[in-house]
Structures are given as C-alpha cells and as structure tokens.
C-alpha cells in the first residue's frame, strides 16, 4: 500500500472499527440468539444468521451481540431465534427466514415493536431459566 495521508488513516480506522467492535461484548445489551441445532440449520438458520449480521451492519447498530445456541425445542417452527432487548419482553420467534430476520432487526430492535405473527412461546418454562 502506498503511503497514507491523514484522511486515509481516518478512513481506514473507521472502516476497521466496526469489525473489531464486534469482538467487544462489553456494553452490548441486546442479544439475538439463534437456534443452530441440526434442525435449525436444516431449516435454514444459517441464512437467517447471515441476514441478521447483514441487517445489523446496514442499520449501523453497535450494541447487539449475535450468538448461536443449540436447539430450543421448537423444531416444528425452525429456525428459532430469541431476542432480548432491555425494556421489552424476551421474545422467541419461529419460522425466521432471512426476510423475517431483517424484519426483526428493523422492527423489534430499531422500532421497539414485536413482529407479531412469528412469536412463539417457550416450550417448557420450567426447564429454561429466565
């Protein structure tokens, strides 16, 4: 690479910052947890995951961590995703395809509105800790 100017350095810093911020979990209070058991993956959870990452990037939201977990037990509505936003009820969504994933980011996370038709209840309250 050729020698940088001040502008180049600043641009580079900005462009790389997002990438490294993803590693920093501190201060991130919104969690998106994607069920990535065999059932979830078979139902397309990887595409949903990509959609989540992409949409978050698009909206430039920096306080979200996207994690994966095992099967949540709702195999009939895979892919399933749990969304935790402070001040809102923890929500489990089912049938989350890529489009729904994008809706969840723009509605639930950005606008604070639940994406109604995809909400499912926990399979068994007693075994899942609140």
């Amino acid at each position: 690479m050729a020698k940088m100017t001040l502008e180049d350095l600043r641009t580079l810093r900005e462009s790389k910052k997002g990438e490294l911020d993803k590693r920093d979990t501190e201060g991130k209070d919104i969690h998106i947890i994607i069920g990535m058991g065999t059932c979830g993956i078979a139902a397309g959870a990887k595409d949903s995951l990509d959609a989540f990452l992409d949409e978050i990037e698009k909206h430039k939201i920096d306080n979200v961590t996207v994690k994966q977990t095992g099967c949540m037990g709702l195999c009939y509505v895979e892919p399933t995703v749990e969304v935790k936003v402070p001040g809102m009820p923890d929500t489990i969504y089912g049938n989350v395809d890529a489009k729904t994933a994008r809706d969840i980011v723009s509605e639930h996370i950005v606008n604070g509105k639940l994406v109604d038709k995809h909400i499912f209840d926990r399979p068994a309250k007693d075994i899942v800790k609140e």
Binding site: T5, R23, K67
Partner: protein, 597 residues
C-alpha cells in the same frame, strides 16, 4: 458470508511454549475440514495474562473462555463452539468459588475483576501482527493528534498533567526527562526504548511487545515529535525472539502505511526505527550501560551526570523509557493527562503491570491501578497461596527490591509506599513466597544473580556482591556468626552509597530488607543452626522415628542415593553420611515417621 465467530488464541510466549501455534493451526485445519472456515476469524493475539491456565482460547461473542487447551481439542472446539454453538464444558475455566459453568462471563473470573487494563489494553484482543486491528482500536490516533493539533510543549504539558512516572523501576517523572531533552540544544536527538527486561520472573515488557508492539512505536514517535528527534532505537534482549519478530513486522507495516519514515501523514515530521539486540546482561537494563551497549561497547554504566537526557546515545540528547512507560503514552495523549491522573494514587498515577509468580494459584500478568493492596493482588487476583499454605512474604522489584511481609498485605502499592517500607517497585516482578521458602535461601539466590550480573566496573558492586554472597553461603551452612549479620549491614549500606549504578546500589536490598523483617530466621540459622523451611540443606536432618515406622520400605525405594536401609516390617534407618537431604523420603512416608529438623 459474514464472520460470526471470533476465535482468539493466545500467542504470548508462555502459551506459545505450550503449543499455542499448533492449536492455532489445528483450529484452522479443523475449521476448513468442517466447512466453517468462512464463518470464523481465528486470531492469534498477545498475552491474556492468565498464564497459569494457558494456553487460552477465547470464543467471541459467546465469551467462552477455554483454558489449558491442547491441539487435540481443536476438533471439538470447532464442532461444538462454532458449528453447534455449544460450549465445550470440560475446557471452560472453573473458579473454585464458581458454582455453575453456564451463567458465565469472563469478567466474573476473579483474576480479571480487579484489573484495569491500560498498558495491556490490546493484549489478548487484537492480532499484533495486523496493523489494521491496532488502528481500529484508536491506534495512531494519538500520533495524529500530536502531529496536527498539538505543539511539542502541549505534549509535554499533557504528560506533566498525567503524573506518569517511569515504569522501569526508579519512578522518575517522564515529562521531566522529555523536557530536559527538548531543552538540550542539538541537531540530533534520539528516542530509546529499554526492552532489556532482566528481573528473574518478570515478563511484563515482553508480553506488551508481543501483544501490542504498535503502542510502543506510536509512543516513541510522539516523543520524537515532542523533543525534536527523528530516530528511535529499541534495545531488546535477543532472548525475546517472538517480541523481536512482532516488532519487526510492526515497523515494516507502519513504514508501508507511511506512519513511520519521512513526512509522516504529510505533516513534515520524520521518524524511523532501528532495533538493537542485547545479549541479555542484567546491567544493560541500566540506562547508561544500555546506551554503551547500543554503541557497540561493553555494557557498563557511566557516572551520572551527564544524564542521557542531555548526553546520551552517541553523546546526543536521548529520551530513554521502558516499554511499559511507552505503552501508556498514546492513551494519555488521547484521553488526557487528567484522566490518567484520576487512576491510581496521588503521587503514583495510572496502573502497574505485575508479573505474578511463585507460590501462587493464578500466576500471570496482571495490571492494577496504583494503590491496590498486596492482599488484593495475592488473594483476589492471584487466588491465594498454592496448596493453602501460609503466606510468608512477597518479593517485589526482583534482585533490586525487598520483601514485603504479611504486615504489609494491606499497604497500598505505589512507588513511594514501597520505597518507604524498604522495597521498590522495580519493573514489576512479584514473587510470592510461602512457609516452605527460607528467607536466607531466597536472599542467597538473588545475591548469586547479582554476583553473576555485576559488570565489575566499580569495586563496591564487584566486591560487595561477592562478599555478601559468601556470608550468606556461610550462614546457610550453619557457620554464620552475629558479626556476619552486622558485616552484611555495613557492606550493604556502603554499596547503596558508593556503587556506580542502580545494580550495585540496589543489590543489597533483598538482604537488608529481609534482615529487617526476618531477623529471627537469620538468627535461627546462626544460633540454633536450623532451617525450618528445610531449604538450607546443610542444616536439615531427616530421621526415622522407629516407633512410627512400620517398615513399608517406601522411603528406601524412593531414596535416590540408596542410603535408607532396613528389613521389611522393621524400622528403617537413614545413613546420615550419605544422605543428600533431598526430602524424597519425607514426602513419601505415609505414616509421619520421618522427621525433619
């Protein structure tokens, strides 16, 4: 596909020596084999600090903190953590106080809770071989700020405001050094980094350079701008190959980006580096000896004044600071001196990195605010003494420092407090001793080190260290007298006053401070000819209690010199003439039949 997981593999020397590179490679291979190579970014970072449990692998964003990982674990880590998003339970770090493995956060590990990471801000987080990652973490923003928004005097004032004191040991205010050099009238000036870390058991500087080399480069360039120097020299010991390699990579990358070299970022300011390798002499950590060594001469100190700030490398004004001091500077420039002053104590601002070693549960690299108490470091961060033994003392400052007894456990640690109690901050080695350590033996170890490392130029050090060592040797053999103890005090005091450099001036510290706090133990060696810890071999005697011995023959089989004899089911006897006092029999006996006196 976007990256969803990050795997951070510790690449510090401690983890590297326990196969971190192999782990790194296996992880890559496995990720490839299991088809998830595009989903993860595997990064080799600098030291996480938690060396006791290394090698360490951390998975983000799940924050899975895996300890004592071996290359064979790679397959499971990838298949569980990455493919299935589950934790590999057996590799997770478990604190004794931690009840459950699941609800777990790295910040909950006690080892990290009390730490404040300024110097080590990027260690264990970025890939030290990628300048982009450093830049993304506000790297080179401080250099940018000084070049375009600050005058040299502003930089020095900011440092003055911060109260930063040299982390190499003596604690001299950093801004004053810079100001002297800035004020010196000369067309050529130098900036030197002292990376000749020599205290036994200390590895703060090595880890900083391995984990975040750019922070030191950036700071030195800032100093160059402030004092009017265009050349930086890093003096590093050749025994630190990984640190050297990463420094070389860092320098090359910064040059390619135009962050070093001519006309940096179009500001008109030039700055470049050379690396000089030291042969690993302790005395070369002393600044004048270090400069002589860079010049190609034998590493021996020269009298001060003239101070290097005015007449340093090649006779030119030179700013010389150690690695840890440098690593603080970009943060001070970015966040301001006032911010830095808010951390730590009144006269010692900021944090200090310690290499915590010895008889401690969590040995490792810790960074705490100045003013943290020894108790917090030893018990909260360090997890207490190994095997629940009793705390005896802590040695700070290596061969130049002294011991701190349990009476000082609640003393806040900063430059002045440590000096007041007869020890010193030193560069940050902290060795914890328990009841099994003999104070005479420890003092002897350090004195032997000083004898070896004395450059021999001045008589107080050359002869003094040898004499002190001889006396300690005599005491450890049970032949010491009260006069010997007095003589050690006299010789030690004379050395403190008369030796040419810091090495000789501080070499008697371990003896003088241990004489002060553990005089009883010295007297036991002298008067009663006993060593309760059993370290001074000539004073230990192992015997078999015939009433307790059931003749199981375990001791006889363990004895490496075969000096224990006896018939099966009959009491055994130790042949004292042949016994080498290794203590194997004592440790092996299940019936408490062997006595140590």
């Amino acid at each position: 596909m976007a990256v969803k997981n990050y795997i951070l593999v510790c690449g510090g020397t401690a983890c590297e020596s326990s196969k971190a590179t192999e782990i790194f490679n296996s992880l890559k291979e496995e990720a490839e084999a299991q088809g998830v190579i595009d989903d993860v970014q595997i990064v080799k970072t600098g030291c996480f600090g938690f060396c006791e449990k290394g090698p360490i692998v951390k998975i983000l964003p799940e924050e899975a903190f895996y300890v004592e990982v071996v290359p064979e674990d790679a397959k499971e880590i990838i298949s569980e953590s990455i493919v299935k998003g589950r934790m590999v339970e057996r590799l997770l770090y478990v604190d004794d106080t931690q009840e459950q493995k699941d609800e777990f956060d790295v910040e909950d590990i006690k080892f990290y809770q009390k730490q404040v990471r300024i110097v080590l801000r990027n260690c264990g987080f970025i890939d030290p071989e990628k300048i982009d990652e450093y830049i993304a973490r506000e790297g080179y923003a401080a250099l940018e700020k000084v070049l375009f928004d600050m005058k040299p005097d502003d930089v020095i004032n900011e440092l003055k405001e911060s109260g930063l004191r040299g982390r190499g040991g003596a604690g001299f205010p950093t801004w004053m050094k810079w100001n002297f050099t800035k004020g010196a009238d000369n067309d050529q000036k130098y900036i030197v980094c002292n990376a000749d870390e020599g205290d036994p058991g200390a590895y703060m500087d090595r880890s900083t350079l391995e984990g975040d080399p750019h922070s030191v480069l950036e700071a030195m360039a800032i100093a160059g701008y402030a004092v009017g120097a265009d050349t930086g020299v890093i003096y590093i010991r050749a025994e630190y190959p990984l640190a050297i390699e990463r420094l070389e990579i860092a320098i090359k990358q910064a040059r390619d980006y135009g962050l070093l070299g001519k006309d940096i970022l179009g500001s008109g300011f030039d700055f470049d580096f050379e690396i000089r390798l030291g042969a690993g002499a302790f005395v070369c950590g002393e600044e004048t000896a270090l400069l002589r060594s860079i010049e190609g001469n034998r590493g021996m100190p020269t009298p001060k004044p003239p101070f290097p700030a005015v007449e340093g490398l090649w006779g030119k004004p030179t700013v010389i600071n150690n690695v840890e001091t440098w690593a603080n500077i970009p943060m001070i420039i970015l966040k301001g001196g006032e911010w830095f002053r808010g951390i730590g104590t009144e006269r010692s601002s900021g944090t200090k990195v310690f290499a915590l070693t010895g008889k401690i549960n969590n040995s490792g690299l810790v960074e705490v605010p100045m003013g943290t108490t020894l108790r917090e470091i030893v018990y909260d961060i360090g997890g207490g003494i190994k095997d629940d033994k009793a705390f005896k003392a802590v040695q700070t400052g290596g061969p130049s420092g002294g011991v701190l007894t349990k009476d000082f456990l609640d003393t806040p640690i900063d430059f002045d407090q440590l000096t007041a109690v007869g020890s010193m901050m030193g560069s940050g080695g902290m060795i914890v001793m328990d009841e099994d350590d003999c104070i005479v033996d420890v003092a002897k170890f350090y004195q032997e080190f000083c004898v070896e490392e004395s450059c021999g130029k001045c008589a107080p050090c050359r002869i003094g260290t040898r004499k002190l060592y001889d006396i300690l040797n005599k005491i450890s053999k049970g032949k010491g007298t009260h006069q010997d103890l007095e003589n050690m005090k006299t010789i030690g005091t004379a050395m403190k006053k008369a030796a040419l450099c810091g090495l000789g001036q501080t070499a008697p510290n371990p003896i003088l401070s241990s004489l002060k706090f553990f005089e009883d133990e010295y007297l036991e060696h002298v008067d009663d000819k006993i060593c309760k810890a059993g370290k001074c071999k000539d004073l230990v005697r192992f015997e078999i209690d015939a009433d307790k011995c059931i003749g199981c023959t375990v001791c006889a089989r363990k004895c490496p010199v075969g000096c224990i004899s006896g018939e099966r089911k009959h009491p055994h006897v130790i042949d004292q003439d042949q016994c080498v006092k290794c203590g194997e029999c004592y440790a092996a006996c299940k019936f408490g039949a062997i006595t140590k006196s």
